[in-house]
Amino acid sequence: QQQVKQSPQSLIVQKGGISIINCAYENTAFDYFPWYQQFPGKGPALLIAIRPDVSEKKEGRFTISFNKSAKQFSLHIMDSQPGDSATYFCAASVRGSGGSNYKLTFGKGTLLTVNP
């Protein structure tokens, strides 16, 4: 059972355009929603994250929109640049016992290509 569904699998955007990646989750107990960026040959790196008590979070060109009732969240990359070309993963976690286990359930990833 896939608990976090991510779309699209791949995305091609022109430089300066907006990239939008969507995720939907099933487990209403999830309380932390990060996005990770991964370049080839590297491990994922945290990009931006949100908790369900807010509907939007913006950091520079990156924005998360969160819709709790629809159990959906999305990543918007404004003014996309060729250097943004990478694989993006949405994820979700439930704070485990002891308040420290944030094991992540990941979406399957979106390969973003930004053409110059």
């Binding site: 491990g43 994922p44 994820a91 002891g98 420290s100 944030y102 094991k103 359930t105 990941f106 990833g109």
Partner: protein
């Protein structure tokens, strides 16, 4: 400072052999996670360590997989009697005490089982 270090970066083994993958977390980080990244399956949680607490092994796919963390630092993931479906990138992540929700990942070990 240094990030999460994993070794080897690549491992090729024959079906049926045992392999050990090593993770050196960021110094001072208290929690450590192992994940597996495979084509078509994305990233899957395997195991979590926190201090002296019992590890969360709920993601280990079979009893051929085991992991230990010695002295609260270095961790080793062991796969016994490897199968071709074990081929994947095995990623380790660690988190600091002050920001338990932020996981810092290593570059992974790419395991190929022939």
């Amino acid at each position: 400072g240094a990030g999460v270090s994993q070794s080897p970066s690549n491992k090729v083994t024959e079906k049926g052999k045992d392999v050990e993958l090593r993770c050196d977390p960021i110094s001072g980080h208290t929690a450590l996670y192992w994940y597996r990244q495979s084509l078509g399956q994305g990233l899957e949680f395997l195991i979590y360590f926190q201090g002296n607490s019992a590890p969360d092994k709920s993601g280990l796919p079979s009893d051929r997989f085991s992991a230990e963390r010695t002295g609260g630092s270095v961790s080793t993931l062991t796969i016994q009697r490897t199968q071709q479906e074990d081929s994947a990138v095995y990623l380790c992540a660690s988190t600091p005490q002050v920001a338990k929700n932020i996981q810092y990942f290593g570059a992974g070990t790419r395991l190929s089982v022939l």
